[in-house]
Each structure stands twice: as structure tokens, then as C-alpha cells.
Subunit: 460 residues, 2 copies
């Protein structure tokens, strides 16, 4: 996947992070959190953590922990550097001795293709193409990035460095396996301990069988919180009687591995206790917003979702919870719910993640046979077609609906459940595109129901 | 009101509390909290706080803060004394110097009519009948308690002491006026600050027009928590279209005064912001339990209650919330809701508070004219009659229902809404009394609807 294009006037900056003192992963994480929250900056990628032997300073035996991140920003190079110095300072770094121990070390490696030689600011950073502990993580996130001096992509420079052999051994530091929380008592204790330390909690509720879409939520949660909790629970309450509750795919081992890779701290499975007691009688319902689209096709579905999410929020008390834009209606309903019920959880919605051919990732994609998988690409094609129409000035939703329908009708075996063109806030049907409008699709391929959507924004 | 009778084998103990160092009201409050949570003890009354000049010690210029509380316990006098010493110790008191400053001083003044003279334990306490800073607060909570030595009630001893003039001036220390929380931001900030200090929060949600029933909730909350928050909000969502939302009585000034007297820290009024936004669409519903009794007579009422309570819990994040047994069905529904939605709030239900003639306190009693007020006593009479029948062996709920109905039918102007004999957990109608059964009544007097109830427990 390519990251979204950088908006006009923005640069890609690669930033090196290092720490050789104290709780090193925590310092790197805190610096990344600060960058992620920095205005006019967008943190789009983070490398794994690497450990390297200390370089240069014979008096300092501590190994360094290193990472590189990719930032998009419309700040100037100088302003970006000042941000980095501010973050170092806020994390207790004193730039005094050349070889002093470093709680955190932030280096501006590259800012686009800029070549700068000013007081205190050299671009590219003099060590950016010299050190494997920079090049190794940088290559992981942006292998094709070109060093503006040699005009070579990073992966080539990294390889040539490796052959020259002047690098210190690297050790990739993996995150530890997340702790499984199997009972309410374990959950509450985990949360209680984190609260007492003043830690923030990011939460990603899922039904398991994780894919890159879930991973994107976990990575964002990792950026923005001290603790990341994932829940895996296939919630019977949100399945209709004819739906796929029984067959819903499961792969606990793979889920745990993906969670570990993204730096998840704990996984709530509640495997030792029933989620709903036999006396359970309480339901959370959002009216109106649930009448349309999937709400109309799947009666009771959203009541199941809002009820389980309320329960999970009760257990986890998250500061932020992460959901995908793929379930667009769910996202709007959950935002409404948290506001209406005064919940202390911010709902964060992240973009749809697609396969390289455009198919939106979904745990249910495993149900598709090869032919269906191919035909299902029509969903994304029809969304692109709608985008195209809107870009060329079309405002009539009936026309857009027809164009989408025409494409879906060419997909062999596709049965359209709905094509919705609705207000992106109220979900009320829209006749003319005057503001942001949600185009949402649900299409059956055999017994498999796929959904996809896009936001249509008429430009003035 | 008389406190409930002391169970067999229990004693009434009067305990003096004093502090002349540090945050004195906090130390006294903490000691009271420890007593309230002590096993085999029931804290039933606390005097106001009094301030007295230091007595005896010329080197200590700090005034003392004093209070007396009444404990019911089946511990021995020696065991009770040990509890007090433990609490002193846990609050940092070191019993070393006779005149040293005292963060907290707990004295066992009286244990029933016991007269004891042992090593370290003298009952009554030698100063119990000598010091006005003991007798004044003790008289406030138990004026008829008799000193076992003189066999005189405390108020007489206090008066004779006063005439002898050997007491230091007393100053009654009132609690400060509670802080009004008028916006969400104010509420969240207040809660945030308390959380950072690790304080526990007790919450009493009301519709205002407070009476002694509410006061009993606030006092219990004061005992069990570091902070007490009251909310006053007349929730339109729980009133039917034909009900008394518009006329519901209001008296903000009196409410604030009562809240102050009970030691409430803050009052949530949210007067600057709407409680429900125009887009509000989320409702919390408890099924089944809401089908009976008031749920049947007042459709939508409990949905309104569970929704507003969820919102208020979201705003306040209380550790404990206090409700009256008078709304028996509401209590059961809210317990169910907090369990089902994994809320981190413990629901505490306190006994019905009645006027001396038996009428259950209710804000709606002001609607009654003098004649109706008199006829309304039939509710309590009919409950007592049912108790009597059960005590004499009656198990058939039809018979009990008839007896209750007969009494209510003698009340001029009474229109029975329902007489319910239901399982006290499930609220399902019961035919034979085999375990704890709720007898609940709703009766109209003119436009005023009164409810009352009692628990019937068949003894083997």
C-alpha cells in the first residue's frame, strides 16, 4: 500500500529516533506520540525498533535503541527541527556533552529532496547515509526514498553499506507477546494499574481474524496511547438468525502474532467468563441513524454493536477507541452514542485499507472463492467511478446511483443489497450533492455479504 | 426517625473523634469512613463537627475539631477499642506524648450500659460526662442515651455541665456551600482533579426538591467516599405526556442548603448546557424487569431513568451511586443495568425514610391536600398489615393482596394503580411466598400518584 499523496506544499521528512538511557522503548514511544500529536504534521509510518551497539563513545556501554519514522508536514525544515528539539527537551534531554547518555535523540535525516547547509541544520543529516542503524529502519518504511545527494534509493545505499561491512551488528527488538486478559478481574486489575500510573489507554475492539485494516488501527493506537488493548470477541448479539455467527472465521494464534507485531499490550478475550450473563436484559440503542443502510438490511445488528461496545468500554475505560471507516455507518452511530451517553472515550475512525487491487480488507473475504474474489473488485471500481463523476461536476445522486448500479450489475453473481447516497452525518438520503455525502454499498456474492464505501465531496 | 432496632447481641457504642493537626476535617472523615467499612459494625449516626479551644496543654495552640458517632456492633468492648486503635494507627497517630499534637484521636465513650475498669479500658470513658466538646455532639445524635453511672440522659448531663460553666466555648463548624457544576467542562475538570488525587466519588442523582430521604443518601455517601456529588435534574425523558413534568416542585435554595448540611462537595446542575442535544438518539433499555409494576403504568419511564443515569454516570464516573428503596423497581433495574453494561459504579440502595406517622417521604407529597395526606397513610398501614399476615404464617399472595386492597379501599379518594407481589429479584409475580417477595403499591389520590413498598420475608 502506498500512503495517501502528500497534500500541496507538504514534505516527506524522515526522522531518526534513538535512546540509550532509562526506559528506552518508552522514550521512543513518547517521542512518536508527541510527533503524532504535533500540529501540521502527519505521522504516517514507523519502523520496527532496532538495537545497536554503542558507536563512537568508549565510555558508554549502553546499547542504543533506534527507529525511523516518516512524517508529512508543511512546516519548513527549520521549523521541523525546532519541533524535534522541543520534544527532546520535553522528554528531559539535555544537549550538553557530545557523548553523554541520551534519553532521547531525534535527528532530522531527510526533508524531501532538500539540500541545506546552515548553522545547526544540515540536510541530509551527515550520518543519514553512513550508519546502518539509520539506514536499516529507514529502508523498512521507505525503501524507495532517494538520497538527494547521490540520487540513490535508500535500499541501495543500505546494501552497499552492508557490503562495505562498516556497520555494527543490529538486533531487531520485537515487542513482547501481549498479555491475554481472560476474566473481568484480570481486566479491571490491568486497567486499575495503568490508571494509577496515569497512563492513557487506546482500545481496538474486534471480532478477531485480524487483517491489515485492524493492524492499521492498532498501530495508530500505539502512536497515540501509553497502552494498547485489543479485544477479540465474536458478538452473537450483532448477528441475525440467518447470518454467519457460527462460521465466522477464527485464528487466535495469528491474531496474537499480529497484535504482538503492532505493539499491543493486552488482548481481552474474556475466555474464562460469559460475556452476557443468562439474566442479561440491558440494551443500548441509537435511533434513526440505525434505520438506514445496514440497519435496514440487518435488523438488530447495530443494537448488538452499541450494546457490546458499551460493555467493552465499561470494562476497558479507554481514552480512545479505534474503528475503521469501512463500517461507515457503525462509525457514525458509535460517535453519536458516545456523545449522547457522555462516554469518556474519543472515537477515532481510520481510512479503509485495501488490497493492492482495490478490494477492501474484511475478515469475511475468506468466504469468497477465486471467481467471486475477482468479481468483487466491482465494488471498488464503482466507487471510483462515482468519485470520477463527482469530480467532473455531477451532483445528481440518482445519476451516480445508476452509474454505480450499472457497474455492479456487470459483476457476475453480485446481488445488490443496497446502494446508499446519504448525508455523511445524519445518514438521511440525499438528492443533490451539496456537502459531504457517503456512498455506501452492500453486495452479496453467494452467501457472502460485502460492504464498501467512499465519501463524495463536491468541490465548489 | 428511630434507627432500626439493634440486632440481638449488638451494642450501641458512642465514639468521640478529635483532631488538632493537619487537615482536621479530612482526618475525622477518614476515621468515620474506616468505621463505616468496619466488619461487624454499623455506623448509624454522626454529629456535626464542633471546634473547641485546646484543653489542658498550654504548649499546643491548635483548636480541636470534635465529633461523636454512634456505632452498632456485636464486637466486645475490648475488640471495639482495638479497632479504634488500629484506625488511629492507620491514620498516622502515634500515641506517645500525653500532650502531643493529634492527627486523630478516637475515644470509646460508652458501650451500652457497660461499666468496665480494666487495664487500658475504662467505660464509660472518664471524660465522657465531663467535657462539653464530647457532650455537645453526643447530645446532638443521642440525647436520650443514659450514662450508666448516673443513669441520667446525656442532654441533662450536658445542661448541668453548661450551668456549671466549666466548658470551653464551642463553635459549630458547618460544611462549606457545595460547588455548583454548571457545564460539562466544569464537571470533567472537577472529576479529573479528584481522580488524580485518588479520591473516591459517591454520587446521588436526584430531581431536586430534596427531603430527608435524599439526605439519608447524601449522608451515607459522605460516610463512604472522599467526595460527594449530588445532581439535580428534572429529566423530561422519564415523564409521560400526561404526567407532572411541568409542575414538578423546585426549590434550588433549599436543596443547596440541605446538600451543604450533609457535607456534599458539589452539585451538578448543568444549568448552562442542555442535557440532551437536539440530535440525541441513544437510549438505554432494560427489558423484562421494566414490564411490570410502574413499567406497565408508565410506559417509557424506566427507559428515561436508565438513559439519564447512564449519562450522569458518564459525566461523574462515580465509585458508588445511592438510590432509595422507595423506588424498589428502579433500584433493581439500575443494578441489572450496571452489571449488564459493566459499569464501574456500585449501586447502593438505602431504606425508605418515613414521616413519624408512616408516610413515605416523596417530593410529590407537596401535591397532597390535608385530607389526602391523611388518607395516604393507608399505604403504610396496608404494608404493615401484610407484614403482620406474613409473620403469622400467611403464604398465599392472593390473600395478602386482598387484605392490602381492603385497607386501601377504605382510604377516601384512593384509586389503586397496582398492588404487586413479585419476586424481589426478577419482579415476576409470585403465588406463594417462598422467598423474599416485594410488595409494591401505586395509588392515585386525585392527580397525585404515590408509591410505597416493603419486602416480605417468610421465616422458616
Amino acid at each position: 500500500m502506498t500512503p495517501p499523496p502528500v497534500a500541496g506544499g507538504s514534505y516527506v521528512a524522515l526522522i531518526g529516533l534513538g535512546s540509550n538511557q532509562g526506559d528506552r522503548p518508552l522514550f521512543i514511544r513518547k517521542a512518536l506520540t508527541a510527533l503524532a500529536h504535533s500540529t501540521r504534521c502527519r505521522l504516517v509510518a514507523i519502523s520496527p525498533l532496532y538495537q545497536s551497539d554503542p558507536v563512537g563513545n568508549p565510555n558508554d556501554p549502553n546499547p542504543y535503541l533506534n527507529a525511523v519514522c516518516r512524517l508529512e508536514t508543511d512546516l519548513s525544515a527549520r521549523q521541523t527541527l525546532d519541533r524535534l528539539l522541543d520534544i527532546e527537551k520535553s522528554l528531559g534531554r539535555v544537549r550538553r556533552e557530545r557523548w553523554g547518555p541520551r534519553t532521547i535523540d531525534l535527528d532530522l535525516l531527510f526533508v524531501g529532496d532538500k539540500i541545506v547547509e546552515e548553522s545547526g541544520l544540515t540536510l541530509p543529516h551527515p550520518l543519514a547515509t553512513q550508519r546502518s542503524f539509520v539506514l536499516e529502519p529507514a529502508t523498512q518504511i521507505d525503501p524507495e526514498f532517494r538520497d538527494p545527494i547521490s540520487d540513490s534509493p535508500l535500499h541501495e545505499i543500505r546494501n552497499s553499506l552492508r557490503t562495505r561491512g562498516d556497520w555494527t551488528p543490529l538486533q531487531r527488538l520485537d515487542f513482547p507477546m501481549p498479555q491475554e486478559l481472560t476474566s473481568r478481574q484480570e481486566i479491571r486489575q490491568f486497567i486499575q494499574t495503568s490508571r494509577e500510573k496515569g497512563q492513557t489507554v487506546g482500545f481496538v475492539p474486534t471480532m478477531g481474524y485480524l487483517h491489515e485494516g485492524h493492524a492499521s488501527l492498532l498501530r495508530q493506537a500505539r502512536l497515540e496511547n501509553d497502552l494498547v488493548i485489543l479485544s477479540i470477541y465474536i458478538n452473537p448479539l450483532q448477528f441475525g438468525p440467518e447470518e454467519d455467527f457460527e462460521q465466522y472465521p477464527r485464528d487466535k494464534k495469528k491474531d496474537f502474532e499480529l497484535a504482538r507485531e503492532t505493539g499491543t499490550d493486552a488482548i481481552l478475550t474474556l475466555s474464562e467468563e460469559p460475556m452476557y450473563s443468562p439474566e442479561h436484559a440491558t440494551y443500548v440503542e441509537v435511533k434513526e441513524l440505525t434505520d438506514h443502510l445496514c440497519g435496514a438490511s440487518r435488523p438488530g445488528h447495530f443494537r448488538g454493536v452499541t450494546t457490546i461496545v458499551t460493555k467493552l468500554f465499561g470494562l476497558v475505560s479507554p481514552d480512545r477507541a479505534y474503528f475503521g471507516q469501512k463500517d461507515a455507518q457503525q462509525a457514525i452511530i458509535l460517535r453519536r452514542m458516545t456523545i449522547d451517553l457522555e462516554m469518556n472515550t474519543k472515537i477515532r475512525i481510520l481510512p479503509i485499507v485495501r488490497e493492492s487491487d482495490g478490494l477492501a480488507l474484511s475478515s469475511r473475504n475468506v468466504y469468497l472463492d477465486e471467481k467471486q474474489r475477482q468479481e468483487a473488485l466491482g465494488l471498488h471500481r464503482s466507487l471510483l467511478r462515482a468519485q470520477e463523476l463527482v469530480a467532473s461536476g455531477e451532483r445528481c445522486t440518482e445519476t451516480i446511483d445508476s452509474a454505480v448500479r450499472d457497474i455492479l450489475n456487470t459483476c457476475d453473481g453480485a446481488q445488490i443489497d443496497y446502494i446508499g447516497l446519504v448525508d455523511s452525518q445524519t445518514l438521511q438520503p440525499v438528492e443533490r450533492l451539496e456537502r459531504e455525502t457517503l456512498l455506501a454499498l452492500a453486495v452479496h456474492f453467494g452467501r457472502t455479504r460485502l460492504i464498501d464505501n467512499t465519501l463524495l465531496t463536491p468541490l465548489a
